[in-house]
C-alpha cells in the first residue's frame, strides 16, 4: 500500500536525518509529525529531510512539508532537503520551499555543510 511512510531517524554528528521512504502526500502527515516529535524529544537542532529519489510528491504532501518547515522555523532548527529529483527541486523552488530549506544534491554534501555550520 502506498499510503504509508517508513521514516527512520538517523543521527549524523549534529544533524538528524529523516530518511523518508515512500510517497509524500496528505497521508504522510501523521508519519512526518511523529518523526518530528521524536526528533524534538532527542533535542534535534539541525534537520535534514531525505526523500526517495523516485517518490511521488503531490500538493498535499508539500502542504505537510510546509507545516513541518513552519515548526522548524519557530524552533530555530536549521532545515535542509536532499534526495529529490530535478523535477521536485523545480517544484520546491516554484512554491518557495527553498527559501526555508536548502536543497542538497547528495546526503554527503548536505552533511558536510550542515555539520560545519555552528
Amino acid at each position: 500500500m502506498p499510503e504509508h511512510n517508513e521514516i527512520r531517524l538517523e543521527k549524523h554528528s549534529t544533524v538528524t536525518v529523516f530518511c523518508i521512504e515512500g510517497d509524500v502526500t496528505a497521508f504522510s502527515e501523521p508519519f512526518l509529525n511523529t518523526a518530528y516529535q521524536k526528533a524534538n524529544e532527542q533535542g534535534a537542532k539541525k534537520i535534514l529531510l531525505k526523500f526517495d529519489k523516485d517518490a511521488y510528491i503531490n500538493s498535499g504532501g508539500i502542504a505537510v512539508l510546509i507545516q513541518i518547515l513552519a515548526e522548524t522555523r519557530r524552533n530555530n532548527q536549521d532545515t535542509a532537503i536532499t534526495g529529490v529529483s530535478d523535477h521536485f527541486k523545480k517544484i520546491f523552488h516554484m512554491v518557495g520551499i527553498t527559501k526555508f530549506a536548502k536543497i542538497f544534491n547528495t546526503l554527503e554534501e548536505a552533511l558536510a555543510l550542515m555539520t560545519k555550520e555552528s
Binding site: 511521488y56 508539500i62 513552519a70 512554491v95 526555508f100
Partner: protein, 144 residues
C-alpha cells in the same frame, strides 16, 4: 465538449478515490513517452494530471465514492492535451497565488497549491469548461 475518441486519444475512467490519481498520471506519462515528449515535460505533465485529478475528486466530485473522474488524453501534431472531467459545477473562484511566507507564518493555510502548480507546469490551461457531463479542466503541453 463532445467525447470523440479518435486515433490519437486515450481515455481513462477512474473511481473517485484519492490515490487513484496515480493511475491517470502513469497513463499520461506512458502515452507521452510513446509520442516522444522529453522527460522533463513528462514530469511536468505527471504533476499537472495528478493535481487536476485530485481536485476533481476532492472538490468537483466532493469526495463522493460513486462519482467518476474521466481523463481524456490527446496527442496532436504540436501539442499533448489532457482533459480532466468531474461531475461538479466548476471552480467558483480562482484562488490567489499561494504566499509561502504567509504559510510559514501560519497566516495562510498550508494547502492551496494545486491550481498554482498546474498553471506553472503546463503551457496552457482552461478551467471551468462546462459540458453536459460536468466540469473539465483542460491542460496543454506543447511538443517541441
Amino acid at each position: 465538449m463532445i467525447q470523440i475518441l479518435d486515433e490519437r486519444t486515450i481515455e481513462v475512467n477512474l473511481p473517485n478515490k484519492i490515490g487513484y490519481e496515480r493511475v491517470a498520471m502513469d497513463c499520461a506519462a506512458s502515452f507521452a513517452k510513446i509520442v516522444g515528449l522529453v522527460s522533463a515535460r513528462i514530469e511536468d505533465l505527471k504533476t499537472a494530471v495528478s493535481e487536476a485529478c485530485l481536485n476533481a475528486m476532492e472538490h468537483g466530485n466532493r469526495g463522493r465514492p460513486d462519482a467518476r473522474v474521466i481523463v481524456t488524453m490527446n496527442c496532436g501534431d504540436d501539442d499533448f492535451s489532457v482533459s480532466v472531467l468531474d461531475e461538479g459545477e466548476g471552480i467558483r473562484e480562482l484562488p490567489k497565488e499561494p504566499d509561502i511566507e504567509k504559510k510559514i507564518e501560519k497566516l495562510e493555510a498550508p494547502n492551496g497549491l494545486g491550481l498554482f502548480l498546474i498553471k506553472q507546469l503546463v503551457d496552457q490551461v482552461e478551467f471551468n469548461e462546462m459540458t453536459k457531463d460536468g466540469h473539465a479542466v483542460r491542460m496543454v503541453i506543447k511538443i517541441t
